[in-house]
């Protein structure tokens, strides 16, 4: 039975092929998108630093030390601040806050924005109109001002949701989500409408697929690429918003390590005397945002050739 064996090998190669193709795809990405690869490596380093913070830190980031304003040394890689807190440890833990809030925001805003876009595109008419006008209003505020106001007004309203996110962090997520969801909604809605008019949707309708099935099985998969691109550009924006709010003093709780908060408040008086307090958190934040921007650019080039070179 050579035929059967042949068929079996053919089957086996079929099974083996996809991962191989995925690997060459990755290789091609690394070769063609050098800046994007640098971004990806920096992201991995940042995520590693944030998750492994309890292992990598040299002291408790919130612990007051006896050596204050000490310049960077082997004991304190990034020096210490006015309270004698270790700046290296605070930068590591600050990454945790940024990553946590950034990711939570982007995932919620992306899911919410896309779901609303599908609903608006699917139902059309009054619902689409209403969602569109609400979006107009929400987008009409300069984003940082809006987030600032939301943060101030909701401050006492929200419950503490436990150990994953402190109340202040939860509030940041809510405020930043309300700012970014309409933006994502608007981008995705345009695309839903575009897809809806496509021939493949018409043919699915002809063979009798329901609207929900068309939305979920046909249109949504075609949105995934754009969604990934949108998420990769929203994440650094969300991280910047979080740190800006923390910088303004309406973000994380006082004392919590955060790149934005550590650049503000009482620390400011000591920047000239101890520049390391100002440099390292800002540098960590800038490199993180840069890494996501580099990666996002490369992702856009790879996933959507039509957008190549834009922005």
């Amino acid at each position: 039975m050579p035929e059967a064996e042949e068929a079996a090998t053919a089957l086996r190669t079929d099974v083996i092929q996809p991962p191989e193709r995925r690997f060459t795809g990755l290789l091609r990405f690394v070769l063609q998108q050098r800046l994007g690869t640098i971004g990806a490596v920096l992201i991995i380093l940042m995520v590693f630093g944030a998750t492994a913070a309890p292992v990598l830190n040299t002291s408790d980031p919130e612990e007051f030390g006896t050596v204050i304003l000490e310049s960077p040394s082997l004991d304190h890689f990034f020096g210490t601040n006015r309270e004698g807190r270790d700046v290296w440890s605070r930068v590591l833990y600050g990454g945790r806050v940024s990553l946590k809030i950034g990711l939570a925001t982007v995932i919620i805003a992306a899911l919410g924005g896309t779901a609303l876009a599908l609903i608006a595109g699917y139902l059309g008419g009054l619902v689409d109109f209403a969602l569109g006008r609400v979006t107009d209003v929400l987008i009409a505020f300069p984003s940082i001002l809006f987030a600032l106001t939301l943060n101030a007004s909701l401050r006492d309203e929200l419950p503490n949701i436990g150990s994953v996110l402190a109340a202040e962090e939860f509030l940041l997520v809510v405020a930043i989500c309300i700012v970014f969801t309409p933006v994502i909604f608007r981008i995705m809605r345009g695309n839903v409408l575009e897809q809806r008019a496509a021939v493949y949707v018409e043919s699915a309708r002809v063979i009798g697929a329901s609207e929900v099935r068309i939305m979920w099985r046909h249109i949504f998969p075609n949105l995934v690429g754009l969604l990934l691109i949108v998420m990769s550009t929203t994440l650094p924006a969300a991280i910047l918003t979080e740190s800006a709010l923390s910088f303004l003093g309406v973000g994380v709780e006082q004392g919590t390590p955060s790149w934005g908060a550590d650049l503000s408040g009482n620390n400011r008086a000591f920047f000239v005397k101890a520049p390391w307090i100002a440099i390292f958190p800002g540098l960590a934040l800038s490199i993180t945002v840069l890494a996501f921007n580099l990666f996002g650019d490369a992702l856009r080039d790879t996933l959507d050739p039509r957008l190549r070179g834009q922005r």
């Binding site: 009409a140 940082i144 001002l145 309203e157 910088f247 920047f271 000239v272 800002g282 945002v289």
Partner: protein
Amino acid sequence: MQVYIARRLLAVPFMLLGMSLLLFWLLFLRPGNAALTGFGLVSPDQNASAIASLEEEFGLDRPFFVQYSDWAWNALRGDLGISLKNRRSVTAEIRSRLPVTAELGVLTVLLTALIGIPVGIISAIRPGTVLDGFLRVVTISGISVPNFWVGTLVITLPAIWWGWTPLWQYVRIEDDLIANLKIVIWPALTLAIASAAYIARIVRSSMLETLYSDFVRTARAKGLREQVVIIRHVFRSSMIAVVTVIGIQLGAILGGSVIAEQIFGVPGLGLLVFDSVVSIDYTMVLGAIMVFALMFTLINLLVDVIYTFVDPRIRY
């Protein structure tokens, strides 16, 4: 086109209605006496009648829609109420601070264009060169660096390196123009870095798109000098992208004024919003943010109208 502008203008009042309703609702979620205790007008142990009389003074005991319509009616006539903090007129406070932020905004946009456009053009006419690669890294870094860190470094680094520590004492423009500009240029530059980097990227990519189009080849073929081809033909057609992006960036610049004004001690509208949010002065926050939103809305409208002049292909 007139129909389009009329339609857009007609939408503005509805936008303002929506925005003010939303803000009003957000800011007045808090019960009246909580708003008063927020910054010490009432202490928690003060007797009920004192709280009630203050609530009555500010009208916080009335139903939401009564409060809102009262506020909206007065706002239409230019009266945005009185500050909860010091009982001064919100309108007067905003009027004295608006020119400061407007100056900062205009200066920022000017710097954005002056830095961003040339960088974009240089990148676009030498694509793929070392210079282009360098500028691409610089511009993507520019959009990644948070403005509050840039502002911090602008104040800190010269002080460390050269012992340059100006007082950062704001001087009003009508008192001394030069002294005023010497201060305002720094927050403007701080805010302009990200916007300029953004514009440079847009100019580069949109110029690259047109650089190889037929009309550019024609312009070269008829013997125009390369400079003329680039400036008059290629760059002009990417102006539309520049206008769009300046419109978008204005949101970031207006929002950024909160941060830049705080760092450099510029007493503008942004600092007013910040101070009022911190002291929970709701009427002031409401008035100031509405003025920001109005500016943003009108500027976006203006940008859309400018399109039609820059790009004759667009007809609404």
